[in-house]
């Protein structure tokens, strides 16, 4: 449809001069545009953590402060709510630590490595997985959001298809705003194929504006909040 392309661009160009743009900016350069001051909040780190937890819990995210024994805490949490299988990426940043610290007992959910392309494990992912585990890039205090960049080790569907999504977040990675994070870490230089903000479990208010949780994504979002030196560093 290159005809459509040419015609649309020609029409837009023809109107460009006549309209508001004429005296404002002569020629845009890639990446130009109005400079918007970066949204930030001057808060101490403990305040940021508090805000993050409050915002996430307000949308029914579950936050659990954890120490070095976080795999055991997770196993107990999941076991108590009847979860039988937890899928994880063995090559993910915390994959080895999760497997090492996973308690071996009858009541503990089975730890299932999520490997291979989705075409090979679609059935298992949709039908036989109760929970998925991933790491995350950061937490955003302003909105209580988790920032995920799914990777080959922890692909996109691992945080979406299983009914429970478990995330380990290092509290040092809680930043004030998404805007600040994008600017500081220069996201615009190289975006991953998929970047996500996740703020609470899936929900809908399409029936009488009444919130119902667990629509098409996970019904539970469990965040294990690790504090600094308690955390087993990423591999």
């Amino acid at each position: 449809m290159s005809d459509a392309r040419t015609a649309i661009l020609e029409r837009l160009r023809a109107s460009g001069g006549a309209a508001a743009g004429a005296q404002l900016e002569p020629k845009p350069e890639p990446g130009s545009g109005p400079t918007v001051p970066v949204r930030r909040f001057d808060r101490s780190h403990p305040q940021l953590v508090e805000r993050f937890c409050g915002m996430l819990e307000a949308v029914r995210g579950e936050v659990y402060p954890v120490g070095a024994d976080w795999p055991a805490v997770l196993a107990r949490l999941l076991g108590e709510s009847g979860v039988e299988t937890l899928r994880y990426g063995p090559d993910g940043p915390f994959g080895a630590a999760l497997a090492d610290g996973w308690p071996a007992s009858e009541s503990t959910p089975a730890l299932v490595p999520h490997l291979g392309p989705v075409e090979d494990c679609r059935d298992a992912l949709f039908a036989e997985t109760d929970a998925g585990f991933t790491g995350c890039l950061a937490g955003v205090a302003e909105t209580g959001s988790l920032v995920l960049w799914p990777s080959p080790a922890e692909p996109r569907l691992l945080s979406l298809v299983p009914p429970v999504h478990c995330v380990l977040l290092d509290s040092a990675r809680i930043v004030p705003t998404l805007h600040g994070l994008m600017a500081d870490e220069q996201w615009h230089r190289a975006m991953p194929t998929n970047a996500l903000l996740i703020t609470g479990p899936s929900k809908s208010a399409d029936i009488e504006q009444t919130l119902a949780y667990g629509v098409h994504g996970p019904a539970r979002l469990i965040v294990l909040l690790a504090h600094g030196d308690n955390l087993i560093a990423p591999a």
């Binding site: 918007v36 979406l160 399409d206 009488e208 629509v215």
Partner: protein, 507 residues
């Protein structure tokens, strides 16, 4: 004199249950938005930024579209351009058919409604699967969305429970909202697992990085764009923004204006298909193909007019309709167009032409609530006035054809458009044309009277003297107004005369 819109509005006003549902929902959304912007100064600052970002994007639209195309292509997406609904439908159908798919998972997309995509797919034997709960409800009911953010807002739980009972008789869940929602999850699960092509709209397309940003709460949007082999995104050409960072203020404006949420559950930024065969390890899920369809469908015509261009700043939050006294009473179906409310009243007459939808510009009391809440400061009342003016101008001239020479008509799509959803509409009935002509005549008279103080004084004193007769004339001629209201009565003496007598200077 009755026209299509008036008839629709009259019928909508008669549906008490729908009105109550919409009223309740809109009141709730207004309060939620208010609570989401506790800091007035911050709100105004954000609105300034939102407007500046969108204005900049529109001022550089052709260059940004080219940049978007280049970046998306470099990221491995395929970019398509469509002049109108027919072309967009053909492109999408072609992609679906090339994969031999019999069904398409649909995330919520108003542009897909605009082009009548579902009907087009069905005509070619392909099932469109609406995955958003609200969209599913209206698909089951065979209706159109009544709100751009909350498509099933006009239905209450009893109607929805009845719909589900009829369509999924094997499942029983009564009228409990949690159970109705859980049913939608069970029904859709299998479709997410099996379907090979997904389609979505786009909230913002970032030129700098070739990123498509989508927001949602349910997870169906992520499912539709992640689980299938092929993802098709369809969007209007105006949705582009220059920089990734611009997303930050726009996202916060959009979600807080729309539903009062600080952020939606999911913000999904897609910058390409599954990456395989590169330097690093292969990605293991995500679509193998991502297509972006850029739709004009009249937008470049709107872009050509410096004043009306502001229409294209819209980020589709729906705040204008939530706050609109007309929308709140007649609901989305009262408008008879894909985009309802104040947004629809300025957008639809421009997309479809004044000759077809010009009357929608009358669907406003010009109270200004829409402009007051618009996150990108679209001066909706001013644009409504402009459209009313052009409508009256174009139509009062004798026998003006459809090719009226006003700027707005130039904004209508080229005459050679295919069988889009809108070309099914009839030409405007004679009654509507007469109405516009009469209106123009009355306003001309009004202008003449008000242009000369002497003439004005003569007429008001005459009206005051004959006030009993004037009352009868008003009651007879203003029937549509007085049917539900007490007719105004003229005083025996004008305010000017009274003031003069009291010794006030009236100059």
């Amino acid at each position: 004199m009755t026209t299509e819109f008036r008839e629709r509005a009259r019928r909508a006003l008669g549906r008490d249950r729908v009105r109550a549902n919409i009223r309740r929902a809109m009141d709730g959304l207004v309060l939620k938005r208010l609570a989401a912007f506790p800091d007035r100064e911050e709100l105004e600052r954000l609105r300034d930024q939102g407007q500046a970002i969108r204005d900049h994007a529109l001022a550089h639209l052709p260059d940004l579209l080219e940049q978007l195309e280049a970046r998306c292509s470099a990221n491995g997406m395929r970019v398509h351009w469509a002049e109108d609904a027919a072309e967009a439908n053909a492109i999408i159908l072609g992609i679906v058919q090339s994969h031999g798919a019999g069904a398409v998972l649909k995330g919520k997309s108003m542009v897909s409604e605009e082009i009548g995509l579902n009907a087009h797919l069905l005509r070619h034997g392909i099932e469109p699967i609406e995955t958003d709960l609200g969209e599913l409800i209206i698909q089951l009911a065979g209706e159109e969305p009544s709100h751009i953010v909350a498509p099933a807002v006009h239905k209450d739980r009893r109607e929805i429970a009845e719909l589900f009972r009829v369509h999924y008789p094997q499942e029983s869940c009564g009228e409990d909202i949690e159970r109705l929602t859980a049913l939608a999850r069970r029904v859709m699960r299998e479709r997410f697992h099996d379907t090979r092509v997904g389609l979505s709209g786009v909230n913002f397309a970032v030129a700098e990085t070739g990123t498509l940003c989508l927001i949602e709460n349910e997870g169906n949007g992520r499912m539709s764009t992640t689980a299938p082999d092929v993802h098709i995104a369809v969007t209007g050409i105006e949705k582009v923004i220059a920089r990734l960072e611009h997303l930050a203020p726009l996202l916060t404006l959009l979600t807080r204006s729309a539903t009062g949420q600080p952020v939606t559950t999911y913000v999904n930024m897609i910058s390409g298909p599954r990456r395989t065969g590169g330097d690093g390890p292969d990605e293991r899920d995500g679509p193998r193909e991502v297509h972006l369809v850029l739709l004009d469908n009249g937008r470049s015509g709107i872009h050509a007019d410096p004043e009306l261009r502001a229409t294209l700043r819209c980020i589709r939050c729906g705040a204008c309709m939530n706050h609109c006294p007309v929308y709140t009473r007649i609901g989305g179906h009262g408008y008879g167009t894909v985009y309802p409310g104040p947004l629809g009243a300025i957008l639809e007459p421009q997309l479809q032409g004044l000759h077809r939808r010009g009357e929608l510009a009358q669907a406003s009391s010009l109270c200004g609530a829409c402009a007051e809440v618009c996150p990108v400061r679209i001066p909706i009342p001013r644009l409504l006035n402009r459209l009313r003016y052009e409508h009256a101008q174009g139509r009062s001239a004798p026998a003006v054809g459809d090719a009226s020479p006003t700027a707005v008509s130039a904004g209508a799509p080229p005459p050679a458009t295919g069988p889009s959803a809108r070309s099914r509409d009839r030409a405007p009935p004679r009654r509507a044309r007469m109405r516009v002509a009469l209106q123009a005549g009355i306003w001309r008279l009004w202008a003449q009277v008000h242009a000369s103080p002497a003439r004005y004084r003569r007429l008001t004193s005459l009206a005051a003297r004959l006030h009993r007769l004037a009352d009868i004339v008003i009651a007879r001629t203003a029937v549509p107004w007085t049917r539900t209201r007490t007719p105004p009565r003229l005083a025996a003496e004008s305010l000017h005369a009274l003031a003069r007598r009291e010794g006030y200077c009236d100059e």
